[in-house]
Symmetry: C3
Subunit: 473 residues, 3 copies
Amino acid sequence: MGNCMYGLCDSFGCSKNTNIRLKLPAVCFIWQIAMIILFGIFVRYNEESDTHWIEHKKTKRNLSDIENDFYYRYPSFQDVHVMIFVGFGFLMTFLKRYSFGAVGFNFLIAAFGIQWALLMQGWFHSFGTGKILIAVENLINADFCVGSCLIAYGAVLGKVSPVQLLVMTLCGVTLFAIDEFIILNVIHAKDAGGSMSIHTFGACYGLAISWVLYRPDLNQSKRLLGSVYHSDVFAMIGTLFLWLFWPSFNSAICSHGDGQHRAAINTYLALASTVLTSVAISSLSKDKGKLDMVHIQNSTLAGGVAVGTAAEFMLMPYGALIVGFCCGIISTLGYVYVTPFLEKNLKIQDTCGINNLHCMPGIIGGIVGAISAAGATEYVYGSEGLSPYIGTMFPMVPRLQGGHQAAGLCVAIVFGIGGGIAVGTVLKLPIWGDPADDNCFDDEVYWELPEDEESHSVILEYNNHMRNKHQDV
Amino acid sequence: MGNCMYGLCDSFGCSKNTNIRLKLPAVCFIWQIAMIILFGIFVRYNEESDTHWIEHKKTKRNLSDIENDFYYRYPSFQDVHVMIFVGFGFLMTFLKRYSFGAVGFNFLIAAFGIQWALLMQGWFHSFGTGKILIAVENLINADFCVGSCLIAYGAVLGKVSPVQLLVMTLCGVTLFAIDEFIILNVIHAKDAGGSMSIHTFGACYGLAISWVLYRPDLNQSKRLLGSVYHSDVFAMIGTLFLWLFWPSFNSAICSHGDGQHRAAINTYLALASTVLTSVAISSLSKDKGKLDMVHIQNSTLAGGVAVGTAAEFMLMPYGALIVGFCCGIISTLGYVYVTPFLEKNLKIQDTCGINNLHCMPGIIGGIVGAISAAGATEYVYGSEGLSPYIGTMFPMVPRLQGGHQAAGLCVAIVFGIGGGIAVGTVLKLPIWGDPADDNCFDDEVYWELPEDEESHSVILEYNNHMRNKHQDV
Amino acid sequence: MGNCMYGLCDSFGCSKNTNIRLKLPAVCFIWQIAMIILFGIFVRYNEESDTHWIEHKKTKRNLSDIENDFYYRYPSFQDVHVMIFVGFGFLMTFLKRYSFGAVGFNFLIAAFGIQWALLMQGWFHSFGTGKILIAVENLINADFCVGSCLIAYGAVLGKVSPVQLLVMTLCGVTLFAIDEFIILNVIHAKDAGGSMSIHTFGACYGLAISWVLYRPDLNQSKRLLGSVYHSDVFAMIGTLFLWLFWPSFNSAICSHGDGQHRAAINTYLALASTVLTSVAISSLSKDKGKLDMVHIQNSTLAGGVAVGTAAEFMLMPYGALIVGFCCGIISTLGYVYVTPFLEKNLKIQDTCGINNLHCMPGIIGGIVGAISAAGATEYVYGSEGLSPYIGTMFPMVPRLQGGHQAAGLCVAIVFGIGGGIAVGTVLKLPIWGDPADDNCFDDEVYWELPEDEESHSVILEYNNHMRNKHQDV
């Protein structure tokens, strides 16, 4: 079976060279070797993951082993890890013939990205010492950073080569680390669950790239731009693991004790609320009230995105429900109206609808964070929770904090769009092995498919057979 | 593609109106808004999830942050969460054309149910204070509560509309909360893993509803009441995640320390034992000793159900193995003999066989709990573990405790059957958009299916083609 | 539908009797009853899972409940549990018609094996006391032990009956326990993640059995020895959960505090590195640089295997990356060159390629462990981490420790090969109901398949129809 299964290549111009036999291995080897060298120079264990922990815990009021940060954060880390690799990977398997690419390339770029993220984030947080000292919290942050690149992948799913994805991830991680440093350490905004730095940034980055890479003739591969029954069930694996573990995502790097506790509760509630409004709008939007799997797979997650920044705040349980309520509506309406609008009017082709799942809810999340920070009172937070500069919650007085939160949101948007346009321009060069317009969304291009893909080929054959018969008659 | 894909609607009476375009959104919106209002009035964070934790831990002998209940319970909570959404959802995907409904409606009703459960359970445990103060233990209890409604869904899978499911969940959660309050707080029975309050109640509730909603002509949709190869593999995802995380389910709300530890061990052992006897009986029951996927998917879980009540007790490792041993046999025999008997003689149509997986093993679990409580001795439990009224284990002297355990079991059965009949009668009203008899077990009714469901339609077409040919000859 | 769906049985000698209706139930019942009796005699809770915990924690400097070993190890235990049942099970579902056998028999033998492992490992570690006192660490060790048998299953996947698998597991667990005791307690080697005792032993055991059971006419079932599109996606579920939770696997039984922390970090890094080199070699090995799903599913995991022994050591982050880098290359090359070589020249038929995923990386892991132990310095480990006989890390001076590590590796290989040949010889007896050569890799033999497996039978029928037509013409 050749590269182009419809025998149209010669006449219609599948002229693009998708052979990546040298490019992909070269990029993988060069980058992995670079990682080894840079890790050799810069990265060491920190005092909690080093054998010196024995001495360290004695110096600190006789800590017990259980107070090693590992036990505070490792369960959440593993949940986040599941979200990044299984959650994002399977969420994108909904296309009928791009499941290998969805789950496989997600795996590849995440595995590369986490290494580069450890370095980039480490450099920004270890000025002066010269060494990056890592522990479980760094692993979580690396997973977070990669999450933003996987979000961006959702916009270009099926339209780019793995080499482009690796470039996109390299640049995305770099931009993320700068962006995050500015938001958290320069502006001193809080962003525990990353509504701004992960979701808004990642979605803007992906949408901007997709805009630069606009393909006017993409409808040539329209036949592959849908799901089949079982691919939709596979996608639900991704949806559910993302939905389930989102409380861990938003709470993973919160402060010990009540911070993590509260973030998990807020996220749990926001997500529950989102499901009901997503279902409601999905049913309203269709003939006979039938539900659309695209909405169930994606919009039900919007509440988790939107509650990210404010997860740790005293948002109150009803506040979380309200955030989820609104986002379920907005995200589902996004799939119904905004995605077609973006494609038609703004020339942004967004395969997975990341605008609806990450961009709009992420921006809402940033706004919710700004408002709830600005409105924080000592009555709610307690004097010890809120005293400026020494309290656990905000580094500034509430009103000022609110302004800084809003500034953080703007930074994320600017970095996302600006970075995306720059990177997209690089990716447009004709050297990366991307597929032709009529080969998009097809695993055939980059994967050895099972030789006897019976059900598929028989059906095609059968269809042809029937067609010929009709013509004969 | 129309609603009735066989073109028989006009002549044979798919006369039922399954249009839920107004009903479903209306119910979702009304209930979600009600939740927001009630949460606004009643629900707040408790002292461990509130910013006041800083002060709280100082007043309690200088607690460390790691002693926040979050770290005792959050890993178990996440495991339970996986069971509720992935486990129950995928376990029901075995039907060839009802996977969307299985995993999607499971998602919908669980997301609604957990909110209502937080309120209902909260009200019962916060008399006097006026506010419901929530923390991670409440989230686990809400998941548990919803579990009973998902069990009930198993009995009516494919035969009800999502609107009916939402009503069923509203009432089910309400009944559960009352039932649980009586069992745990009035009768003072112990029921850590919920053999009685979750499994027995949930199964009785579902079976009673199914009895009321009996469809004499259900064999009209018999063609859809089986699995296909891949749907059985999807269902194994559900089975395995349920099986794996059951130790967390039974230990999640046990007392700190040895209680959680012992409950996990007992459950691990009971489940291992069940697998072997389920396989043995499955092989015995079939020609040539072939195994039946239905048994492997369901009966292997019976040991976890049956060890629920006694999970925290000093059941001893061999005791757990014996419980699992018996339940594997009983549950598999249930699928072979009891399910057909129930349908034929008692007019109970039980799609997933919840009688065999939850009802019978749940009752066994209640009895095991009663016997092992009544037989508790100071020799086994130690003086501090068993001193009546102050010990960690039982609130009463053992013999009395055994009687109360038995009483708890009776309460669960009575609430389940009584509540199920009442709710079933309401659900029988012809206003809920339930499917016609020949449309059951078909996602077509409530879901937008992928337009080019090739494999399916080609096969039907091909079958017709062959049939016509034979007739021609 | 009969046992042999191609109607060739009579003429071509599907003469083997695969009826296991008496054998399988008999083995299951006998072994499970034996387990109950032996658990009754030997197994009790230990002081951390017993109600005596209340007294125990008082005697030990007023321990808090959170310092119960349960909270140190339970999250890792659950991750390992997912790997054993979901990870290994789904990884083997890649065959087009053996998914039931892959996930179902994996479930059966793991559930039996963990019980027998608790006893065998318990006996070796409780000389003198007479009772085996179990806690969460024992559950993890039992899961580990079973892991080695599941690895061995990979070599014979599709070619043996469930009765043979149960015998293989009984013997495998026994051998593992002896092997492990010698490595850890006699030779005093360290092997936290089991590169030697789990992976090398398990793979050698499986390959030796496969060698003894060599089937010269296996190409009769060649038509079933491939994947289909969706079976490859199912296998990715296994791959990803194994990959994700491997840091927990390697850290689960490490020493509290920095040991677990460091093992998780090392494994995380090694696995990330492996993905890139696996992808690179996979792309290089194929025409047009297309990726092969077999490599992505398996070789990406090799880094986790290879870093097992040294996971807890001060391997340094770049060291972990280097180990992963090499193993991705070696494992993928193994699939391309070594597997065909083994089959052709050494008569070892290795269905899942366990040589490439477990044997070669396991041996590398043993060597890495020996080298890094021999090279340990006080500068790196600190004086308290390395003082011989009293330090937390090694029981001996480094150079001596290195020698002992190497000796441990040899023991694992010898036990694996020797034990495999012995057990294979027993399994060759014609009494176990194994399938005929042309029935291998077919679920039809041991499973009741869905009656209307439409897509499959229609396709076969259609193919025949087309073939006849061509012949007519």
